[in-house]
């Protein structure tokens, strides 16, 4: 019989279930618990359990990065907004312009959107992408550290 064809329901068998259940679990012998506790007694909790302790730079680096990013957004973003009208193209415009000029060098004509995003939105998008990647990489790093 092809194993792919055996379904979980095919394997159910009332008789075998009843037979297996007719045999009640045995009582564990007296002193099993004490024996186990005596054996794990000498194992120090510190060696038995190794909780991950992140280095200081990592522990304080994350909130520091978030706070400084927020401060930069609040202070710098605001300043830029007031000067937005007076200033020329935004950061995104500059980036798209340079990408367009690279493509024109390759004789390709790809019209990237002519966006007019404010500097605050640019910072939010950029910061969001950066933070997402930072957290993803950090989570992966911590996961590896814990399971090694």
């Amino acid at each position: 019989m092809a194993n792919k064809m055996i379904s979980e329901d095919d394997l159910r068998d009332d008789f075998i279930s009843a037979m297996v259940r007719s045999d009640k679990p045995l009582k564990a012998p007296e002193g099993l618990l004490d024996g186990i506790m005596n054996q794990i007694g000498p194992i120090p909790a510190a060696t038995a359990i190794k909780p991950y302790n992140p280095p200081l730079w990592l522990k304080w680096g994350i909130p520091a990065t978030i706070i400084s990013l927020m401060l930069v957004l609040l202070v710098w973003g605001n300043e830029n907004n007031t000067a937005q009208q007076a200033k020329g193209p935004s950061l995104f415009d500059k980036a798209f312009n340079s990408i367009n000029s690279w493509f024109s060098g390759l004789h390709l004509n790809i019209n990237l959107p002519n966006s007019n995003l404010s500097s605050t939105i640019t910072w939010i998008i950029g910061g969001g992408i950066l933070l997402t990647w930072a957290f993803l990489l950090l989570a992966r790093f911590l996961d590896k550290k814990v399971h090694n």
């Binding site: 194993n3 394997l11 279930s17 037979m19 012998p29 618990l33």
Partner: protein, 181 residues
């Protein structure tokens, strides 16, 4: 708390699982002393391995995997594997056989179970116990044993056939003895 190695909390876990662990070890190893030692070993291994326990899986699945490996390692070490590795012929249930089986009472059932387990390998006993007694899914059994899902299904299918075959043989023997009296 348990994951941080608090021994008092670990004692609760031992209390909760000791009967099941001992029973399972006994059914696989068929020796009370060895079952006791293996159950004890399994709990100690579990305590030492607690930092590696991932909270995304069930504790029972993880713990039964430790029991399974402990018992199989014990058997390999002692070289006392009494199971049959060969494939048995397919047993087909006739209506009369099923009727005879259905008329068995609790005590007969227990006796039959012991006979049926005689033809199973330790690995098959573990799978049968977890599937038919604990109602574990194929997915959980695969996680416990490290076998692929299709492999678990095939092993369970064969174990079931072997059990039915063994029970029928035992019943026929009993009927023969009864008739010759």
């Amino acid at each position: 708390m348990i994951l941080r190695g608090e021994k008092a909390y670990f004692a609760f876990l031992v209390k909760k699982y000791e009967d099941k662990a001992y029973s399972l070890c006994y059914k696989i190893l068929r020796d009370k002393e060895e079952a006791r030692d293996s159950a004890q070993d399994a709990f100690i291994k579990a305590y030492e391995a607690l930092p590696g326990f991932r909270l995304d899986s069930q504790f029972s699945t993880w713990f039964y995997r430790i029991i399974y490996n402990t018992c199989l390692n014990k058997i390999r070490k002692d070289r006392t594997d009494t199971g049959f590795e060969t494939d048995d012929p397919v047993w087909n249930n006739s209506a009369s056989d099923n009727e005879a089986i259905a008329n068995l009472d609790q005590e007969d059932m227990k006796e039959m179970l012991l006979k049926a387990y005689e033809v199973l390998s330790p690995e098959e006993i573990f799978l049968v116990e977890q599937f038919y007694h604990e109602e574990c899914s194929i997915d959980e059994l695969s996680a416990m044993t490290g076998l692929s899902q299709s492999n678990v299904k095939v092993k369970l299918f064969r174990a079931r056939q072997k059990m039915h075959g063994q029970i029928k043989t035992a019943l026929k023997e009993e009927i023969h003895i009864w008739q010759t009296r």
